[in-house]
């Protein structure tokens, strides 16, 4: 196999591996028995940062079957008193075993999360999440600057090779 082909194949695989969507799932934040339910909550990204986040929930009954017909609401309260309300739904989840809520955490620090689950029975669940400082947009821009740098380097290399040949 020629080097060129190997290079293109590797490039295609790297592109295939890239995915910029904030997926649901992620780290198991807690798993708890509440009333008739067993509730597992996942958070993404890991580590959790201010900015776009995902809170996903799996609700199971005592027979460990997944329960979908429940309404799940999150209320997040920051240390400074800011309150965020978000409804979780299966529609917003890529992984349909979960119900997912996409939120925009405006600040870092500890957030109190109050979860309300309403179905055949009702349950409330309180826990804390700790969000680190958000990635600066300049960090994203910095990473994205690598692309023109790499392409320019590749072009310079190509010009040299053409001259040498």
């Amino acid at each position: 196999m020629s080097p060129a082909c190997k290079r293109w194949l590797s490039l295609a695989i790297c592109i295939a591996a890239a995915n910029v969507v904030l997926a649901d799932g992620g780290k198991v934040q807690l798993r708890r028995e509440i009333g008739p339910y067993q509730v597992t909550i996942f958070t993404s990204p890991t580590p959790l940062r201010a900015g776009p986040i995902d809170l996903s929930v799996m609700v199971q009954n005592s027979a460990r079957e997944i329960v979908q017909d429940v309404q799940i609401d999150f209320q997040l309260t920051s240390e400074s008193g800011e309150i965020l309300l978000q409804h979780a739904s299966q529609a917003t989840a890529t992984n349909k075993l979960l119900q997912s809520a996409k939120l925009m955490l405006p600040e870092s620090g500890v957030w109190q999360v109050h979860t309300t689950i309403v179905g055949e029975a009702s349950a409330d669940l309180d826990f804390e999440i700790s969000a680190a400082e958000a990635h600066s947009d300049w960090t994203t821009a910095g990473w994205m600057l690598l692309l023109p740098v790499a392409l320019v380097a590749l072009f310079v290399m190509r010009e040299r090779l053409v001259r040498e040949n």
Binding site: A4, A17, L97, D137, L145, P148, L151, F155, R158
Partner: protein
């Protein structure tokens, strides 16, 4: 397992655009190459090779995007299946497809010639790749990858972080491709070592696999804390799940190694006879009949659609109807821009779709322009005046574009539906008036600001209207494509297609194609950007390097791209408010001053500076305008990148505003139910949607690289001495990088959401 579970799992397919894009593009390139090889009579690529390649892509898709990925966080066994698909199914299928030749031949020729060939000839790269693909290196890379990613810390990291999960999958796939390469020995690889060496290669791989599987199977504790905490879906304990995962790893991988081992041994035991037979099979084949390839450039993928006149006319009337709706709602609807079609359709959706269509295909808006719908009627009453010679250039459009950008800011046009409707009416009226008064189509060529924007940006489009075969045109004496005939007008912008090059002034109307009696004109593929660096004399346009009016148009559009986006950022809005309060004359003088400075004065002085710097660097004695005219086309890609980034921001943060406005309009006129709610405009920075800022920056990155490339090639075109090339190029490169940084800064600022729907209105 309840019905909820089955329903949820069956709908848990993912369709990640990046993965789909990579798989579809790889498949398409392979198919093109495979088809070409078949047409050349190669019997080494029977249909099963194509099937193997597509099967490998399908396996990767299933591994990464199917419900397996949804179940993987809950069960180590399922996760293991996912990994095995990437490690022992997809890679052998890839190599069975012998992808080297098809992938190379499937690429565009210019890419092969200009980019692949120099690197393919690079000895150091060849040696490095040969070293990586050596069996011992491949074996170590494969084993190390498996063990590293099964270490508890790394595995846990991959389970918790999407980023590391993707890295893990990519490494598994790449290491496995390396591992299976010497075993499968894909054509045209010829090994220099004995194939017997693959016996210990596979045996030792089996041994290490057995040890790892054994650890997973017989461990007394859960190795990965994630699975201990994850929900239990099938009433099996995490330890049992782990043991079963070990077995899942053990049996199929061992089988794969054993089958490969038997195959190698059988092949070697049959000695040279079988191998000679296998090779001989290919040598004895007579090349198949190759179907004759049509001469001339390849047709664009848009050609079959747009070369039908009925399609173009239908689209034109649809655009006309949409324009009528915008006028109607702009004049009669509520003057709340976010809820009025005239507030959202032109300023959020149409602009974004326009620039996207320019980079995807070409000047499609002009092809279906609603303002020219009545042209054929108007021509019947045409007074046959000639458009004044002094105005037959781009200066009127430079002035009109500057006036438009000023008016847009000064009168907040995005927030005035009625004014927007009046502007659309104005377009119709002026277009009609020009068609009644003048011969040819001076409105499109010299006046229409939208047309000028499209002409300039379409210089980097991947399609152009061109002839299929130059020989046919050489024998043509009637020149119907230019002069027209009794049925069709021909090119009204005075472009003679055989001598036309690129897209400048071409409205893609394809009247030339309809008029051509030989059916020799169509939409063909154009290598994006190649027109920027060519200085050929073009029919109806001349040389770009001698058009100061064109250079001015390009420069104004470049700076307008930055200014138009910058004026909605918090720092500039704040500066405007501060100055307005300080001076006390209202907003108009500030906006006017800002526009004069940003669109005219600053570009003029900067271009003068760059022109003089270019001349000084090349020790050339000429007017400063000469290098500006030469290098101006190189500025287009960066400008287009900024337009694209800016308009994408509006489109992706406010796409649903069209729905609200349409519902509201329907409610007003048809008394349907309209319930406002659900839409929230919280997106005031590109960073508030995870993928939007990277996408915007990607557009800018590509624009910058293309601009730098074009500027360098223009410098090479003008200067034969390499040292002078670099010196001439340097000022433009510095300017492009500074402009790029300014664009990045603008994109990172909080944006004032203009005309977008905000909950609670």
């Amino acid at each position: 397992m309840n019905a909820d579970f089955l329903s949820a799992i069956s709908s848990s397919w993912q369709f990640s655009p990046s993965i789909l894009f990579a798989l579809v593009v790889s498949g398409w390139i392979y198919f093109r190459g495979w088809r070409s090889l078949r047409q050349r009579g190669s019997s080494r690529f029977p249909p099963w090779r194509l099937g193997a390649f597509f099967a490998s892509l399908l396996t990767i898709f299933v591994a990464l995007q199917s419900p397996l990925d949804a179940l993987a966080p809950f069960s180590l066994q399922i996760h293991m299946v996912q990994h095995l698909l990437l490690m022992i199914v997809a890679p052998p299928l890839v190599w069975l497809a012998a992808p080297e030749l098809p992938l190379l031949i499937g690429l565009p020729k210019w890419l092969r010639d200009e980019w692949i060939r120099p690197f393919a000839r690079w000895r150091r790269l060849r040696l490095a790749l040969a070293w990586i693909f050596r069996p011992q290196v491949a074996w170590i890379a494969f084993t190390a990858t498996i063990w590293i990613w099964h270490a508890p810390y790394c595995y846990q990291l991959a389970l918790e972080s999407n980023f590391w999960h993707r890295v893990e999958h990519a490494m598994f796939l790449m290491a496995s491709l390396l591992f299976w390469h010497p075993v499968m020995q894909p054509f045209p690889l010829r090994t220099t070592y004995s194939r017997w060496l693959l016996v210990p290669y596979l045996f030792l791989a089996g041994v290490q696999g057995t040890i790892l599987s054994g650890i997973l199977t017989f461990s007394h504790r859960v190795l990965y804390p994630h699975y201990a905490a994850a929900p239990n879906l099938w009433n099996i304990t995490p330890l049992v799940d782990q043991s079963l995962a070990g077995a899942v790893m053990w049996i199929p991988t061992s089988l794969a190694y054993v089958i490969a081992l038997f195959w190698i041994v059988a092949e070697q035991m049959s000695s040279g006879k079988a191998i000679a037979k296998r090779d001989g099979k290919y040598r004895s084949v007579t090349p198949a009949h190759r179907s004759p390839q049509p001469l001339g450039p390849r047709p664009s993928i848009w050609a079959p659609l747009l070369e039908r006149r009925v399609v173009r006319l239908t689209l034109r009337w649809i655009m006309f109807t949409l324009a009528a709706l915008i006028i109607l709602d702009g004049l009669l609807g509520p003057q709340i821009s976010a809820l009025n079609l005239a507030g959202v359709a032109p300023w959020i959706h149409w602009r974004a779709i326009l620039v996207i269509s320019l980079i995807v295909g070409g000047n499609f808006f002009c092809a279906v322009c609603p303002f020219t719908v009545l042209r054929s009627v108007a021509k019947k009453f045409n007074l046959q005046y000639s458009f004044p010679k002094s105005l037959q250039n781009k200066w009127p459009s430079v002035a009109l574009l500057a006036l438009f950008f000023w008016a847009y800011e000064a009168f907040s046009l995005w927030d005035r539906p009625a004014w927007t409707a009046l502007i659309v009416i104005g377009f119709f009226a002026v277009a009609l008036l020009f068609d009644l008064l003048f011969v040819q189509a001076p409105f499109c060529k010299y006046v229409c600001p939208i047309g000028q924007f499209n002409f300039v940006q379409s210089l980097v489009s991947p399609s152009e209207v061109a002839v299929r075969s130059p020989d046919v045109c050489a024998g043509c004496r009637t020149r119907d494509c230019l002069a027209g005939n009794e049925q069709i007008a021909g090119c009204q912008l005075s472009l003679f297609v055989p001598k036309k090059q690129g897209n400048l002034d071409c409205t893609f109307c394809l009247d030339c194609a309809d008029a051509c009696p030989h059916q020799n004109i169509t939409l063909v593929q154009l290598r994006p950007g190649v027109d920027l660096v060519s200085d050929a004399a073009r029919s109806g346009v001349g040389r770009y390097s001698q058009r100061i009016d064109l250079a001015a148009l390009i420069v104004v559009l470049l700076f307008a791209a930055l200014l138009n986006a910058a004026w909605m950022t918090a720092p500039l809005v704040s500066l405007e408010e501060t100055l307005t309060a300080a001076i006390g004359w209202g907003r108009l003088p500030i906006v006017t001053g800002g526009m004069l400075l940003g669109l005219l004065a600053a570009p003029f002085f900067l271009m003068q500076l760059l022109g003089k710097a270019s001349l000084a660097m090349s020790a050339e004695t000429a007017d400063w305008r000469a290098p500006v005219m030469r290098f101006a086309p190189a500025l287009i890609p960066l400008g287009l990148g900024m337009w694209l980034a800016h308009y994408s921001f509006h489109l992706f943060t406010s796409a649903d505003s069209l729905l609200w406005a349409t519902q509201r309009m329907a409610n007003d006129h048809l008394a349907t139910n309209f319930l406002i709610g659900g839409g929230v405009c919280s997106c005031c920075t590109a960073g508030s949607i995870a993928w939007l800022l990277p996408l915007e920056l990607l557009f800018l990155d590509v624009g910058l690289c293309m601009s730098l490339w074009a500027a360098y090639r223009i410098a090479q075109r003008e200067q034969p001495i390499p040292q002078i090339v670099l010196r001439t190029f340097a000022p433009w490169a510095i300017f492009l990088v500074i402009f790029f940084v300014a664009c990045v800064w603008v994109l990172l600022q909080p944006m004032e959401m203009r005309g977008a729907y905000v909950a609670g209105l």
